[in-house]
Amino acid sequence: MEPSHDPISKETSDADLVAVVVQGDAAAFELLFKRHRQRVATIAGRFFQQAPQIEDVIQETFVKAYFGLSGFSQYKVDSFAHWLARIAFNSCYDELRKQSRKREQSFADFSDSERQELSKLTSNMRVTTVESAAINRDLAHKLLRLLSAEDRIVLVLLDVEGLSVAEIARLMDWSSAKVKIRAFRARTDLRRLLKKFL
C-alpha cells in the first residue's frame, strides 16, 4: 500500500510545507509566505518606516529563505518561524549597513522645534513610557539614523524585542562578548547623541 500524501492545507505544519517546497511545489511556498509575512514585516518595521524599504526587506528575506530551505530541512536546528526571523533580522542589518554607507545626516539637519522636543525628552527624567514621552516617530528615526547599523540592531533587539545577550548572540551569529561590547557602545553612543540636545 502506497503512503497517502495529504493535499496542502492550512493545517499542514511548517516543516511539512518546507519538505513539499524542497520537492518543487511552489504553491506550498506561497502558503509559508502568507503565514509568516506579517512577522517579517513587523521585524522590518523595527528599523524602517517607508513601505518600499519594508517590502524590500520582506522580499530579500523570503528569497534567501527559499534558497536556504534545503539546508533548513536537512538540519532543522530551529523552528521555521525562528529561522525565518533570523534571516529577517540579518536582512535588516544588511540594509542598515547599506544605508549607513551613504548616510550624510548630521546635527545640522535637526530643526529648532525638533531640538526642543528632544531636549524636553532628555531633560525630563520622570518620563517612563512611550505614550507619556509622545515623541514623534519621524524624529526618533532621524535621531537613530545617526547611529551605526550595529548599534541600531543591538538596541532594537535589547529594548524592543527584549532578547537576552545569549539570544542576540545566537540570532546574529555573534559571540556573547561581541554582543556585550556592542550593547555598551550602542548605549554610550546614544547617550552621547542625546547629551548634545540637553
Binding site: A26, F33, A44, I54, E55, I58, D159
Partner: protein
C-alpha cells in the same frame, strides 16, 4: 554627589534612548498593511526565477569574465619570461677553459702553441720532426 548626579543623568539618558528606540518602530497594523501588498509575492517569485536563471548561466559568465582578464595577463607573463630567457642566454659568454698556454705564458712560440692547442700527446715522429726542422734552420743560418 556629582557622581550620583552623573549616574542619574546617565540613567535618564538611557531611559530617553529606550523611549526613542521604541517610538521609532512601526505598529503591527501598519506592518501588516505593508505585508498584505498584492504584488509582493509575485515580486518574490520573479526574483527567485531570475536568480535561478542567473545561477545557471552564472558559472559560464564567471568563467568567461575571468578568462577575459586571465588569458592576456598570462600571455604577457609568458612573453616577458621568454624575452628575458633569450636576453640572458644570448649575452652569456662561455667561461674560458683552463689553458696551459695561458698559464705557462708560451703563446708567443708558434710551434709549441700549435702543439698545445691540439691538446693531444705528441707523437715521437712529431718530436723528431720538430728537432730536425730546428736543426735545419740552425744549419741554414
Amino acid at each position: 554627589m556629582t557622581k550620583e548626579r552623573d549616574s542619574i543623568s546617565e540613567e535618564g539618558l538611557d531611559r530617553a534612548g529606550r523611549i526613542i528606540t521604541q517610538a521609532a518602530i512601526l505598529s503591527e497594523t501598519e506592518a501588516g498593511e505593508i505585508a498584505a501588498s498584492p504584488f509582493l509575492f509575485a515580486r518574490i517569485q520573479a526574483r527567485i526565477a531570475a536568480e535561478r536563471q542567473g545561477s545557471d548561466v552564472g558559472i559560464w559568465t564567471a568563467f568567461w569574465s575571468i578568462s577575459k582578464r586571465a588569458i592576456p595577463a598570462m600571455m604577457i607573463v609568458a612573453a616577458l619570461s621568454l624575452g628575458l630567457s633569450f636576453y640572458f642566454t644570448g649575452n652569456k659568454k662561455q667561461p674560458a677553459a683552463f689553458s696551459v698556454d695561458a698559464y705557462l705564458g708560451t703563446n708567443e712560440s708558434g710551434v709549441e702553441n700549435l702543439v698545445f692547442a691540439e691538446r693531444r700527446p705528441l707523437t715521437r715522429d712529431e718530436v723528431l720532426a720538430t728537432i730536425i726542422s730546428r736543426d735545419e734552420k740552425e744549419l741554414g743560418r
